[in-house]
Symmetry: C2
Subunit: 312 residues, 2 copies
Amino acid sequence: MSCEVSLPEAKKVAIFGGTHGNEMSGVTLVNLWLKNRAEIRRSGVEVQPFITNPRAVEKCTRYIDIDLNRAFTPENLSKREAEDHPYEIKRALEINRIFGPKGSSDAYDVIFDLHNTTSNMGCTLILESSQDHLNLQMVHYIKQAVAPMTCSVLVNEHPFLQYSTSRSVAKHPIGLEVGPQPQGVLRSNIFQSMRLILRHALDFIELFNGGMEFPPCTVDVYQVTERVDYPRDTNGNITAMVHPNLQDCDWEPLNPGDPMFLTFDGRTVEYKGGNTVYPTFINEAAYYEKQQAFVITKRGTLIARQIKVSKM
Amino acid sequence: MSCEVSLPEAKKVAIFGGTHGNEMSGVTLVNLWLKNRAEIRRSGVEVQPFITNPRAVEKCTRYIDIDLNRAFTPENLSKREAEDHPYEIKRALEINRIFGPKGSSDAYDVIFDLHNTTSNMGCTLILESSQDHLNLQMVHYIKQAVAPMTCSVLVNEHPFLQYSTSRSVAKHPIGLEVGPQPQGVLRSNIFQSMRLILRHALDFIELFNGGMEFPPCTVDVYQVTERVDYPRDTNGNITAMVHPNLQDCDWEPLNPGDPMFLTFDGRTVEYKGGNTVYPTFINEAAYYEKQQAFVITKRGTLIARQIKVSKM
């Protein structure tokens, strides 16, 4: 049995910044690259930097009407572009027209979507499928290229917790989340890490398109299994904070009985689950409104098949 | 020569939270105390917790129309409340009516204004006058009470860089700035530090009102001398980031020749001043729009005279 996968060239690549207008590393990098593409130019690839939510960038806010990175649902994308819609729905329709249509053979091959988080997640590549062998090979390549710096891989293909991202328009969507960085702030260390990862990602695509074969490999990942909300009162106001023992401990094991929250009156709320889990997106600013204090992940290992380009 | 100052009791005290609606420690503490005042009750003092910018708190944004903490200018406060104004000007007029009028004998005695910063400033008490002996004695008391935790004192009475704060309505305005904390995030360590400082501040007022004399003392402070902006291009866009050697180094000496910024093309911009200075508010999210990467301070020592209450 041959496990090699032949895949078409990744000719059309986009780099999205400003999907959330206050996540400054991606906004700044994309704006730099729009002025000077030398750094992102690779032979045999069209690389398109793009500010996805320019009005939110201008106001330095996450979004204007609704979260653009939840807006690429089949329902929204079936609306008519000419009609009056919330700003981000109009924008989703435009983006789908330019870089999609989502799910079609005309769609862009790869979209990198650049994000920052207030959580202490370091560099994280986010995949939407455990079966996307191009992306799995790419994250394997990036992880090796940036070592000894750590680059975690988060897979979100949970049936209820997955959401309709901007990048999901592409055949191979890949999110890059780097933190900790406050909203509206540009930190040099976060900026440099994001820039480095993008360079390696584009190198990988150039090598792949150029005919390099990538042998089968394994990729250690964290898979989203659950969302945990803050304790709240009957009015929906939070009554506790992330416990100091959990704060900033993204990717570290959370065991049954470990402290999870500290209530305003000083009581500790423990984790009651049955198994050791790996929390991430801990105390992300934008997720208070989404009723999420952190997500729980389980560790796993995915197999990336050997890939090579299928020249037409 | 007697240097003792007799001062009237501080009977009317307010605690402002949410002057900036996305600075979560103050918002959360004030909301807690509005529900249950036991923790802030002191004999002989009326302590009023108050959310200054409720619409900004609701939207979890710094402000709606203009920065409330710059709005208490003589010009604004002379406007008529009934007329149509930007939201924060209306709010400033209301606050001035309730807690002022600013500069009058009817004004509140002390207003604590609770803030967070994305800068690594730790706990900082902000004074608007180097001659306010009640406040100087109070910050001296707090510094001793929280030791070995550090509590810095920033004095902003610079003729051009001082601004018209919400707390300036009171006879003795005092800002409390605690960081680092991203906008929209509540961190337990920052929350607990702010809570602790407020408790000691209220204890001080109770002791003072009760007749305790506070002997003369000195207070080490940082005095604002200059504002430093990011390098920018002709369109006003920043072209550099705070240098990694300066990032998070609030209150640490910056010497002539030390790195200050790192440009996007990798060049280091050095500090060219003639003397060692002490930067703070380094890379505060809200100050990009105010053309400020950090403020420069000089170290100084202020003398607090002996104070005692003057009973009527």
